[in-house]
Each structure stands twice: as C-alpha cells, then as structure tokens.
C-alpha cells in the first residue's frame, strides 16, 4: 500500500500539471480554472455534498469493478447492471407502498438482487457454456440499455411527462436528505465497509484474491474456483445494481429518467484499474474523480472551460498514474542497482584485488 501512494501522487500531480499546460495553451486562465474546479467541488457545503453525491455511484461501480477484476472475472457489464438495478428499484418503489423503515432496506435488497441477476446471466453463460463473460457482459449492456428504454417509453412511461421517464416511486423508498447531505452516501460507505471486510478478511475474499492472482494456485489449494467465480460475479453485479438503485432512492428525482446511467459505470471501471483493485484506493480515487467531475461545472461557469475537459483530465490522470506506477518502480530499482554497483566498486578498492583466486 505504502509503495502505491508515492507513484499515485506523482501521477496525479503530473497529470494536473499537464492539464494546467493544456489550459494555458488553449488560452484559459489555468490557475483560476483550477480554483473554480476545487471551489465548486469542495469549498462550500453544497459543493462538498454534491461531490459526495457524485461519489456515491462511483464508489459502488468502482468496488464492483475491483471485486470483478481482482478475482479474475472480466465483468465489463457495470453499465447494464446499473440500469437494471435502477429499474428494479423504480418498479418496486412504484408498485409497493410501505413505511420507510421497511421500504428502504427492501429497495436496497431489490437493487442488489437485480444487479446480481444481470451479472448472473453472464456468469451462468460462462459456467454452463464457457462463453467469455468479457463479451457477454458488454453485449448485455446494450440489451439492458434498450430494455430499460423500452420500459420507460412504453409500459412504464409517465403519461403526463414529455420525455421518457417513469412516475415517481412512493416516498417511503426515498433516502432522506439532511440539510443538503444525501444519505445515499452513507449506504455507499456501508457497502464499502462490508466489501472491504469481505475482500480483505473473509475466507471467500481470500479465495477471490488468490483466484485473481493465480487461479491455478487457488484451485490446487482446494478453493472452489467455480463457486468463487459465480459469487464474485454476483457481488460485482449487485454492487453495480446498488449504484443504480441509489440513483433512484437518493437525490431528489426518484424516478428512472433516460440517460440515468451516464458514465458512472465506465468511470467505475477506470477507478478500479487505477486503484489496482485495491479497496481503499478504489474509495479514494472515486472521491477524486468525483471532485474533478463536480468541479468541471464550476470551470465551465467561471472560466468557460468546456466540461469535456474533465474527461481529458481523468484520462490523463489514469495514464500518468499507471505509467508512474511502473516507471517509479523501474527507476527505484535502477537507482538501487547503481548504488549497489558503486558500493561494490568502493569495496574492491578498499580490499585490494583478491579475486583472481585460482585458475586451473
């Protein structure tokens, strides 16, 4: 972990500097823009809470991807699982009306199960027919996309509305907002805690990690890889589903709106890979990405920097962090090697030349 912090910091700093350079080259005031970036994401209560709101889905999709990749399941189906989770919660919240005390836990459960079912399809196809989950999950994304679109523009359309969206869920399913702070974030934090413990401390978590590092090793050691694979896929899907569900339960909209998935799922994939599937790092990068995304609106307002800039910035961060992870290691190794070489030379001078011992 400690070894990861330095390259990550180097990568982030270099990427932010590169961003600064791009802004400057394009004629935007770079420092002012960055000031706007941070002040619209951190330096006011509302800004900070917005950042947490944005971080909520990112944390969950990030965890989803980390669990998947970390245990050697290439689940790229977060977008689909996200949508299905959101849709299931919407349908549940419209159809069922119970007090909040019941409604909220049940809705969370529904989101988890729905997401897990969607990834479960891919897991099943893999187990049963050996079909690569990497392709099936990708294709299931498109299918989920069109399927939910069908629902919101047909059977579940709110007839009074102008664009494809469903009616609101019953208020029992709404997560409270306390003074601007969306409690959905707490659900994400709880999920983070549970998944971290599961991942780092539990037996199945150990098997997932072992399978992720070397499936032959874990299989030889007696781990039931097939079962572990299915559980990892289900958990991964459930987390993405929860991310979708919280979009409906949290915030102020409480309905399934077209485009609700936005880029959260893909961002989660990015986050997991810069974090190298480490849970704590996933949480931190989710927060960091959410700062960039939230702040980009501030840059647009204050210094007219197009909001696409945040996309560029994120990609640069990923590339630089990944590159610096590799190159700092190589660099440190080479420096150590050089020192060692020098030491060896110094030693020889001190000791004289005693190495031509015998030559037969």
């Amino acid at each position: 972990m400690k070894k990861q912090v330095l390259p990550a910091l180097i990568g982030i700093v270099v990427a932010l500097l590169a961003g600064l350079l791009i802004l400057w080259a394009q004629g935007y005031p770079p420092l002012e823009s960055y000031a706007a970036l941070f002040s619209y994401s951190l330096f006011s209560k509302f800004a900070f809470f917005s950042t947490l709101d944005k971080a909520t889905p990112l944390i969950l999709t990030g965890l989803s991807a980390a669990v998947g990749f970390g245990s050697n399941c290439v689940n790229l189906g977060q977008p689909g699982q996200f949508l299905i989770g959101a849709m299931a919660v919407t349908a549940f919240g419209i159809a069922v009306d119970l007090p909040a005390g019941l409604m909220i836990p049940l809705s969370i459960l529904v989101a988890l199960v729905a997401g897990a079912c969607w990834s479960g399809i891919a897991a099943g196809l893999r187990r049963r027919f050996k079909m690569d989950e990497f392709i099936t999950t990708l294709m299931l994304n498109f299918i989920a996309d069109y399927f939910t679109l069908y629902l919101i523009s047909g059977p579940m359309l709110d007839k009074r509305m102008y664009s494809p969206l469903t009616p609101m869920t019953n208020p029992g399913a709404w997560l409270p907002i306390w003074n601007g702070f969306g409690s959905a974030f707490l659900v994400a934090v709880a999920a983070f805690a549970v998944v971290s413990v599961l991942w780092n401390r539990s037996k199945i978590g150990y098997e997932w990690r072992a399978m992720g590092q070397n499936p032959i090793f874990s299989r030889t050691g007696g781990c039931r890889n097939d079962a572990a694979y299915v559980w990892a896929m289900l958990l991964s899907g459930a987390l993405a589903g929860l991310a979708g569900g919280l979009m409906i339960m949290g915030g102020m909209q409480h309905r399934f709106v077209k485009g609700i998935g936005a880029n959260y799922a893909w961002d989660g994939v990015m986050i997991a890979i810069v974090a190298n599937n480490n849970m704590i790092a996933t949480g931190l990068y989710a927060l960091f990405f959410s700062v960039i995304q939230t702040g980009s609106m501030g840059m647009e307002l204050e210094t007219s920097v197009p909001s696409e800039f945040s996309l560029v910035l994120q990609a640069i961060v990923v590339l630089f962090v990944v590159a610096s992870r590799e190159s700092t290691r190589v660099l440190i190794n080479n420096i150590t090697a050089e020192l060692r070489m020098r030491r060896a030379r110094g030693r020889d001078k001190g000791m004289g030349d005693g190495r031509h011992a015998s030559n037969g």
Binding site: V197, R201, A210, R219, G221, H356, A357
Partner: protein, 520 residues
C-alpha cells in the same frame, strides 16, 4: 591473445533492484573444448551465459571473442558471430512444426517477406540426417517428447551453423538413455570442431563429458579445473562450500496400514487420448513409493486424479481408508498434503504476500487461523501461523508482508513444502519436489520427507530424477504410456533397467514377473 577463443573479463551483473547475480567473473574458454559450468541454483551460471549471448546486458566487464572485443547487444549479433544457446527452459513454439521452429528468426523469405521453403526444407532434412537426429520436421512441437524437443533446440543451432554451443541444463528432463544419446551427439559435434559450453547440476554427467570444469558459487567463479581424475565429492564441496551427503540415510521402512489406494484408474483426455489405463497400486504408512517415468506418460494425470483436479472415467481413489473418488479437492486435502511440481504456477501466487501464500488450504481447514467469526480470518493469527512456518522450516524471508516473489526459488519451495507438511496428514503426495533446487535445498527437502515417513506418513513421490528416486524410495513404480509397467525395489534394480521400462523397451510379460517377485 591469439589462443584466447572466449575471454570474459570481470563480468558483473546486477538485476535490479539488488540481486548481485555475477560478481566480477573471469572465464576463459578454449576453442574446441567441452567446458562445463557447475554451481548451485542461483550461482549465476545462466546469467553468465545470457550476458555472453547478448540476452542480458552486463553491468560491468568485457568479453573478448576470437581475440576481439565483443559486445553482443542482442542474441542476433551473437548468432551472427557463430554463438548459439539452448536455454534452460526450451524456447520453442508449441503450435509450430519442428521446421517452423528451426527457421524462426532466420527465415528464408522472398519478395515482401513471403516465406520460401523450397530450398530450406531439404537443407533442414539434410541436417537431421547428417547428425542422426531422427525427428520428423513436420510434426508439431506440442506433440513430440521432451527428448525430441531437445533435439529441435540443437537443430536450431546447427541450422544457424554456430561454432559455439551453449547448453543450459539440457539433461534436466531427459531419461538416462536420452541423456546418453545427447552426450554422444555432443561429442560428435565436438569432434567436428564445435566448442561446447555445458551447464548442469549433475556432477556425474559433467565428469563424464567435459574437458574442463568451472565451478561457480554465489555469483563468483570459484575455480576452473581440468577434468582429470576429479572426485565428485571434491567438486560438490567446491560448489556449495561444504561437504554434501549424497545419499540420505534412512532406516528400513516399518510398514503400517494402507493409507492410499488407487484402483483401476482410467483417464481419457479431451482429445480422446487415453492417458491412464488400469492404474492400481497402494501406499502404506511409513513408506515412500516412487514413481519413475518419462514425462508425459501419465504422471501428470495421475497427480491430477489423486488431488481431485481431474476426475477419472473409471476407477476409485481411497485415502486413509475413505473413498474420495467423488470428492472435490478441498475434501481430499483434509487427508493429504500435496507439493505441486511447479511452485510458481500451482504452488504459489507470486504477487501475493508470504502470509497469503502460507495460509492457502489452511484457510478452510485450520481453525487456528480463524477469527472469532467463523467466516473471517484473523490477520494476527495468520501472521503467527506464518511465523511458525518460517521458523520451523528455516525459510529466509525479509518480512512476512513481502510478496513471495521476493524470496529465492529455494526459499519459495520451502514455503510450499512447509505449508503442506503443516497440514499434518498421513498421506503425502510429492510431485517433483526438488526440481530446479540446489544441492543444499534438495538435501533439506529430502530429509524432511524421510522424517515424515519415519513419523508414520505414507508418501507418493513422483520424480524425474532417478538419483532422488533411488535414494528416497522404498518401492519404485515405473509408468509408461499411462500404465504402471513395473514395480521394483531400489536395492534390487539398476538405473538402466528402470530406463528400459520407462522407454517401453521391456515388455509387459517381464513386467508382471517383476511385480510378482516384489509381491513375495
């Protein structure tokens, strides 16, 4: 200077971050000699040759070749100067044919790089004939035996018409017969003027073959001697820096009840090839049963069937009196330890920490490392467990949280062996437990196995190393083409006899007689 064919001067190599693989090594090799290099694992033999061959840039030092300063930046330049190397691990493309492997990197090509085989194929065929290699150049590498693959590696060098052949541990996976054949071939090449550099752990081979011998230890050249009336023990001492016991001393076996039994195992693989047929034998408490055989004759499948990684089409497996035929790996691991042959691939996860590698299998079976909640593992207890393993098995480690890849191969192997032995079961399956280890580590692992046997465990030992089989086993089974073709007692047989069984030269009739003899 003229007579100096190859002269390495003060070669140093540091692998980042701080593995000093070569420490100012000087070495001279004369034209036309067979020069052996011996040394423990990690002594730097391979590295020295890789530096010479242009595969690893040296950190310091100079190389002179034919009196001229040579600095090969890539193997291509080395090859162009007439130097060829057969690596410790074969460098062959399994899905390619022999011919394609031979020409790879020096392909005959016409316009736009189109391959042209018209002239080359006959040339390769001719080489095969001239040197009596006896292989079909159109068969796929994946389909031919290890011995034949070895020949392909040599053929690659002949095709490139090299003058210097570097052979890095070529005999590791060969039968005695195949090794003998290889030596004859090398001598033949030597006669037509080729210089041969030969690397091996096996002192007998080296003494048999070489003109001169260089001993390396811990990245330094210890000594170079002419091979005249040399003594094996002396060489060994030079290698490890202390006296080495060549044969493990062990008390006669005191047999207990049957702890493992295989009954009529048959396995047909995905391609419909019969890999195992009617394999039946048992192992008793207090004995070590060795299995000899040329690689690829069913040992791999046997191990997989015993551990439960594969399931047999027919036949049953009993461990400790339980029928485990339908059980999965974990259920069987309660009853058996298993030291897999490839510690890097199946014995460990190189990027995981020492602790995470040490608790594999124990995590389900050993309540000692559980947390209060049964589904969780206690990290403190896992560490304590690992410390105990490290202590009991004398593993040299920097810290428990370091990735296992930061340990040397020998120490990694100790972790694997220790982990398995700590399962403390009555049946032990060892698959090539000492392959690639140095003399010191081999000694350690072998002694540990004997200790377990004396404590009443039954061991099944699969090994390609006949010396090991002879010194450890109480009984030796020979496998050939998926069958157990002989059951022999080490004190009543010879290497050559076993070799004949391994190659299938002896037939089944004799085999049965041999079995009956032992049965008495």
């Amino acid at each position: 200077m003229q007579d100096q064919f190859i002269k390495m001067d003060s070669i140093t190599k540091i692998y980042p971050p701080d593995t000093l693989a070569l420490d100012k090594v000087d070495l001279e090799i004369q034209e036309g000699e067979i020069h052996s290099i011996i040394g423990e694992n990690g002594a730097g033999k391979s590295t020295l040759m890789k530096v010479f061959y242009g595969m690893a840039p040296p950190s310091g030092g100079e190389i002179h070749f034919r009196g001229r300063k040579a600095k090969f930046a890539t193997p291509r330049e080395a090859v162009a100067s007439g130097i060829g190397m057969v690596h410790q691990e074969f460098m062959l493309i399994p899905s390619y044919t022999v011919y394609e492997n031979v020409i790879l990197g020096a392909e005959p090509a016409g316009r736009f790089g189109t391959l042209r085989h018209a002239d080359t194929k006959p040339k390769v065929e001719e080489l095969v004939d001239t040197y009596g290699l006896n292989i079909d150049i159109n068969s796929r590498i994946g389909d031919i035996s290890v011995g034949a693959q070895q020949k392909v590696e040599i053929l690659k060098l002949l095709y490139r018409d090299v003058d210097v052949l570097i052979m890095d541990e070529p005999t590791a996976a060969l039968t005695p017969q195949e090794a003998g054949e290889l030596f004859a071939r090398l001598r033949g090449l030597n006669k037509v003027g080729k210089t041969i550099i030969f690397i091996s752990h096996k002192l007998d081979e080296v003494l048999e073959l070489s003109d001169r011998i260089t001993v390396m230890r811990k990245g330094r050249r210890v000594v170079t001697v002419d091979n005249r009336g040399l003594d094996k023990a002396e060489l060994a001492r030079a290698m490890v820096g202390r006296d080495v016991v060549f044969s493990i001393e062990k008390a006669p076996a005191s047999l207990g009840e049957i702890v493992f039994e295989a009954r009529g195992l048959r396995y047909v693989d995905e391609n419909g090839v019969i890999r195992l047929e009617g394999v039946s034998f048992d192992v008793r408490r207090g004995e070590i049963v060795g299995i000899a055989g040329v690689e690829g004759n069913g040992q791999y499948e046997l191990v997989q069937l015993v551990t439960g990684l594969l399931s047999a089409q027919s036949g049953r497996v009993f461990i400790g009196g339980h029928d485990v035929t339908g059980e999965d790996v974990m259920a069987r691991r309660k009853l058996m330890c298993y030291v897999p042959q490839d510690r890097k691939v199946s014995g460990s996860a190189q990027n995981m920490s020492l602790v995470d590698n040490a608790i594999m299998t124990h995590h389900r079976l050993n309540p000692e490392i559980e947390d209060r909640c049964e589904a969780l593992l206690s990290s403190g207890r896992c560490r304590a467990f690992t410390s105990r393993l490290v202590e009991d098995f004398g593993v040299l480690v920097p810290e428990l949280d370091a990735p296992i890849s930061s340990l040397s191969g020998g120490n990694q192997q100790k972790v694997v062996v220790g982990r398995e032995f700590m399962l403390d079961t009555d049946f032990i399956l060892l698959d090539q437990p000492t392959r690639g280890l140095d003399v010191g580590s081999i000694e350690y692992v072998q002694e540990e196995v004997v200790r377990r046997r004396d404590a009443g465990a039954g061991c099944l030992l699969i090994s390609a190393d006949l010396d090991e089989l002879f010194s450890l086993s109480d009984r030796i089974l020979v496998m050939s083409r998926g069958r157990v073709v002989a059951e022999l007692r080490p004190e009543a047989t010879t290497r050559e006899e076993i070799g004949e069984y391994m190659l299938g030269a002896k037939d089944a009739q004799e085999d049965w007689r041999a079995r009956e003899e032992v049965g008495k």
